[in-house]
């Protein structure tokens, strides 16, 4: 294996060799290497296969804009990650990596057949190839697309890592630690501002790390850099963060940043989070993200060994790696000339510098000649030779638009530069305008919407001196915006490498452009021809071209491809670039793990689980649970061998025959108090409250102003000025919000106070003919006999010595009590009642039995039997409306034309002809099952259960004109193709006269 490491170059730690594997083979690099630099040092360019055509691909960049060198990394069990950029992943001992999109091997891939089937995969192929026949959609095309789609393999195991999350506040956030970022941070830091400086890579310095020959203030660039870092670190008001990517720029200078904490470590400290999401609120932001180099678009430009000239310079100067020993440089910008010089000075034999421009600064040409580098000005590149690694570049002179005779240049690398694109992704997130600069042929920051400053190459400036000067100015501007004072620093820069260049479309060729595979977007395999085809087929806006060709839609969001794509599309349309527009960049700036976004919110912490004081008892006694809003509620209590059906039948029977005990603590509870409490209740609820005596309770119905049912619950009057309001379990917060809204904004004159007491009380419901017998011995301070305590009443007393609000109410149709005690006593009281209840064969029941028992009585569940379009009349509970009340919330709407119109859906009962058939909740209802499809649906089943006490099924349904259809037969088509017939009835299936409440 050849070693491409250059002695005396780079910043990797030669004292610390590191071994890692790529596709099963072991390679050596040094501490400080990325996977890409270490593989290049071993002469490996081929790092992956492309997405669509499975073409062999090598590394193109040295940074986060890398489109090709995406690898899978394994950091132990469950810690596989696909699509890691080899240019970002640092190596450590034991790191395991693998290439992607290849089968059976990276060097021989059968999927590359797609490359020969180009016609099938050209622009818009999704829309054209997979149209017909219809029967192929599910059986052929979708499996094919699913198999072919996607980059890399998705991990299959649960991610065992954890991810942290923090907030950070600062005066000045500087994003990017190249010369402009450092100058901004120094200036703001020296002025005393609280500064945060971040960089996505492991080391700060940006361009300075790739340009060691420049000198600043009389010191070599790297010495100056070390000094600057030391000065920043010595300031207590400055924080430096490496391996931290600013992924999104949100409103009011909120920046999301993801810090990689352990991905570079072989030995991860126990319990260390993998990444940390920072939510930064910065008073001022300085964007110093530099510029991104553009590839050149020509046939075969994706061959491994073809890479950006700036990347080659970075691999050489930062990592000490020569990417080729015989490189050709192909450029339209001065910057690549310097890359050629550095390569030559490091021992490479630079085959030639090929520049598409006819005129290049004489100084550069002199420097090239001094190094013996042949120069070809005014040339184009028309092909590459080599499949797994570039072997030659085909170039041709261009005169007056005519492409001349070819010349082959043998080489082992082609270093390209098609100009530089200011990196303005984050600025674009702020909806700041990007204005076309005709001179720079680039979009530059225009109108700003945030307190942000853009410095350096991001503004199209070039060279270290300009970057430093612009950076310190941005830092000073930021300080002044904060009301501080700061002067811009001055820097003496020598041996600066300034330059300029041109932007161009795909390079001219003497061959058929239709046969050229000139790639614009490497990651999505989009060629120049695809973009021209899209324009020919009618795509006029760049947004259309983008979606039709998928140019710029890969995980790199077109960092390399957008400007080349735009230039070609504009040329095809015969327009200037700004007339064609620019696609919008969106967060995140680089691919970000789901873990970083999820942070602590996973597993049990994903969402709050509310538990009642009696929850533990239910768990100890084998309850199955169901979620109700954020609560988990005991659903049923199966005994050995019972399924839900059997358990519920037993619980229902036991409750109706003797006594059942139920945890109703989740019911929402709101205390409405104050001198105007009665008036407030009158205005909020449909029912009249003025004449409700102290110690009595009433079913309360709450409407929205639109007249539809919002919530319900039993409300007890504790005192003249105090109501104990209960709401549905899921509705408590909503009802309190609604009450607060009216109280604060419509009736601020009312002297009323609202207090949420849901969690203050444990609520235990006893239902069944033996409920009173069980309860009576525990009650002190109240007479709960039938005469003294009628149905729908409430009393304050003690139960088992605990202070209690004791209601006599029933949601089952049986004699019932609901005992409210302070939450801390809930479980003790439950167990006392449980023990004493053994003599009555007391049975605990869950929410399913509660639902069955209430349905047998026709009591509605808001949100199940109503859906936000149901009025009290529709639900058959018009009796709950205080007819003499002048006003209440929703009253006026009950006279709206649509509300009083015929044919509204009304809540009725359904009894199936076959009593054993239990309808499916949600099933649609038709009047005539023989009508042609699509049938007219006249309603749906809202509640449906097996009723043990009735020995048959029961159901409730919302049916158009339901009240006028009594005893009609309706039909319910089933999923299996059959039809169930049912008779329309009232909703009180059991004990309609209410005899069972009258237990003495």
């Amino acid at each position: 294996m050849t070693d491409f490491r250059v002695e005396g170059r780079g910043r990797v730690n030669r004292a610390k060799p590191v071994s890692f594997t790529f596709d099963g083979e072991t390679y050596r690099g040094f501490e400080g290497d990325t996977v890409a630099s270490a593989l290049l040092a071993n002469g490996v360019h081929l790092m992956g296969r492309s997405f669509k055509y499975h073409r062999p691909r090598g590394v193109v960049t040295a940074g986060s804009d890398e489109p090709n060198a995406l690898v899978g990394t394994t950091r132990g069990k469950g810690r596989f990650e696909p699509n890691t950029r080899a240019t970002i992943q640092e190596i450590y001992p034991g790191l395991t990596t693998e290439s992607q999109n290849k089968w059976p091997s990276l060097k021989f891939d059968l999927g590359a057949i797609n490359d020969r089937l180009y016609m099938l995969f050209s622009a818009g192929f999704y829309y054209k190839t997979f149209m017909w026949p219809r029967s192929f959609w599910d059986s052929v095309y979708e499996p094919l697309i699913r198999k072919a789609a996607g980059l890399g393999k998705a991990p299959t195991e649960v991610d065992p890592d954890h991810y942290a999350s923090r907030y950070l506040h600062c005066d000045v956030l500087v994003i990017g630690s190249g010369p402009s970022g450092i100058a901004a941070a120094l200036t703001a830091g020296r002025a005393g501002s609280k500064v945060v400086l971040v960089d996505e890579t492991a080391e700060m310095g940006g361009t300075l790390l790739s340009e060691p020959s420049v000198s600043i203030d009389g010191r070599p660039a790297w010495d100056w850099l070390a000094g600057a870092m030391a000065e920043l670190d010595a300031m207590p008001n400055v924080r430096r963060m490496t391996r931290t990517t600013a992924t999104g720029y949100y409103h009011q200078n909120m920046i999301g940043m993801v810090q990689k904490l352990t991905d570079h470590m072989g030995d991860v400290p126990e319990g260390a989070p993998r990444e940390r999401m920072w939510r930064v609120r910065a008073k001022e932001v300085v964007l110093a993200q530099g510029a991104i180099e553009r590839p050149m678009v020509f046939d075969g430009n994706d061959c491994p060994g073809v890479m950006l000239a700036g990347a080659a310079q970075t691999f050489l100067n930062r990592f000490g790696v020569l990417v080729g020993k015989q490189p050709v440089v192909l450029t339209s910008h001065d910057s690549a000339w310097y890359s050629a010089f550095d390569m030559a000075d490091a021992g490479a034999k630079v085959v030639a510098i090929v520049d598409t421009r006819e005129s290049v600064p004489q100084a550069l040409q002199n420097d090239a000649r001094a190094r013996g580098i042949p120069i070809h000005l005014g040339h184009t590149a028309t092909a590459t030779k080599g499949r797994l690694r570039v072997a030659a570049l085909r170039i041709n002179p261009v005169h007056n638009g005519k492409v001349g005779a070819e010349k082959m240049l043998s080489c082992d690398a082609v270093l390209v530069c098609g100009g530089w694109t200011p990196s303005l992704h984050l600025f674009s997130h702020t909806k700041g305008s990007l204005d076309w600069d005709a001179e720079a042929k680039a979009y530059l920051p225009g109108h700003k919407t945030e307190d942000v400053h853009i410095a350096g190459a991001g503004r199209g400036l070039w060279g270290i001196a300009a970057a430093l000067e612009d950076g310190t100015k941005a830092g000073a501007d930021a300080v002044r915006s904060l009301g501080g004072s700061a002067g811009a620093a001055t820097f003496e820069v020598a041996d600066d490498r300034t330059g300029s260049g041109i932007t161009q479309k795909e390079l001219p060729t003497d061959r058929s452009p239709g046969k050229a595979k000139a790639f614009v977007d490497f990651q999505n395999d989009v060629t120049a021809k695809d973009i021209r085809l899209a324009v020919r087929e009618g795509m006029k806006s760049i947004e259309h071209v983008k979606r039709y060709t998928t140019n710029g839609m890969a995980t790199d969001q077109g960092k390399l491809s957008n400007m080349n794509g735009l230039t070609i599309a504009a040329d095809a349309l015969g327009k200037e670039a700004p007339q064609v527009g620019l696609t919008t960049f969106r967060p995140p700036y680089t691919p970000t793990t789901f873990g970083a976004f999820a942070g602590y919110h996973k597993g049990a912490h994903f969402e709050v689980t509310r538990k009642t004081p009696i929850d533990d008892w239910a768990e100890e006694n084998g309850a199955e649970y169901e979620p109700v809003a954020l609560w988990r509620r005991a659903w049923y209590f199966p005994q050995a061998g019972e399924d839900m059906h059997k358990a519920v039948a037993r619980e229902c029977k036991a409750t109706r025959e003797s006594v059942g005990i139920f945890d109703a603590s989740t019911l929402g509870k709101i205390e409405v108090s104050g001198p105007d409490a009665t008036e407030f209740m009158n205005r909020m609820y449909t029912n009249p409250w003025t004449k409700l005596g102290v110690g009595r309770a009433r079913y309360g119905l709450l409407l929205g102003e639109d007249g539809f049912i919002r919530d319900d619950g039993v409300i007890g009057r504790m005192r003249d000025d105090l109501f104990h309001v209960t709401t549905t379990t899921g509705g408590a917060a909503r009802v309190l919000n609604m009450m607060e809204d009216y109280l604060q904004t419509e009736w601020p004159d009312l002297r009323v106070w609202l207090t949420s007491t849901t969690e203050e009380w444990a609520t235990i419901a006893l239902n069944g003919p033996n409920a009173r017998k069980l309860l009576q011995p525990f009650v002190e301070g109240a007479d709960i006999s039938a005469d003294a305590m009628p149905h729908m009443s409430v009393v304050e007393c003690t139960v088992a010595g605990f202070p209690s609000r004791l209601f006599r109410i029933s949601f089952t149709g049986e004699l019932g009590f609901e005992i409210n005690v302070p939450a801390r006593h809930g479980r003790v009281l439950w167990e006392k009642l449980w023990d004493a209840g053994q003599q009555y064969d007391i049975c605990p029941y869950g929410t399913e039995t509660m639902h069955v028992l209430r349905a047998e009585k026709g009591f509605i569940i808001v949100g199940q039997d109503t859906d936000g379009t149901v009025t009290p009349e529709d639900a058959g509970i018009g009796w709950a409306i205080g007819k003499k009340k002048i006003d209440f919330v929703g009253k006026r709407s009950l006279d709206r034309p649509d509300i009083v119109a015929k044919g509204r859906k009304q809540l009725v009962g359904l009894l199936t002809d076959d009593p054993k058939t239990v309808l499916t909740e949600g099933a649609q209802i038709v009047a005539d099952p023989n009508q042609p499809k699509p049938m007219k649906m006249i309603g749906h089943v809202t509640s449906s259960y097996w009723s043990e006490v009735l020995g048959r099924s029961i159901a409730m349904a919302l049916v158009e004109g339901g009240f006028d259809r009594m005893d009609d037969r309706l039909h319910i088509p089933t999923e299996t193709g059959g039809t169930v017939t049912a008779k329309v009835t009232g909703t009180q299936f059991y004990d309609p006269a209410g005899e069972r409440l009258k237990v003495e």
């Binding site: 409103h251 919407t449 102003e705 607060e740 809204d741 904004t745 601020p748 009253k891 709407s893």
Partner: protein
């Protein structure tokens, strides 16, 4: 994430603490029964849906719990100002944010 000024807490706090509550300055009629069907319909459903500065209600629901009003530019998603419930809409002509 937006920062929203709660006029009761007198502090700019993260959007997470607040809940939107619809358009502001739509008073519930004193006597709804006196309204025609059309008037009542307008009260219930018809909203201005402005492009530009919109007067709207917010509640500092995970904070002091108070409802208040705010002017927000629906184009830039910028708050112009916020003020207490019951106060008239402030005159902000000339100091609305650029778009």
């Amino acid at each position: 994430m937006l920062l929203i000024q709660c006029p009761y807490c007198d502090d700019a706090l993260p959007e997470l603490e607040f809940a939107y509550a619809g358009e502001a300055h739509i008073d519930r009629p004193q006597d709804p029964s006196a309204l025609s069907d059309e008037e009542w319909r307008d009260f219930l459903f018809i909203r201005s849906n402005v492009k530009g500065v919109h007067a709207e209600r917010w509640r500092h629901i995970n904070g002091c719990g108070r409802f208040f009003n705010a002017l927000r530019d629906t184009v830039s998603d910028r708050f112009v100002t916020s003020y207490k419930a019951g106060e008239p809409r402030p005159d902000t002509s000339g100091k609305e944010p650029a778009q």
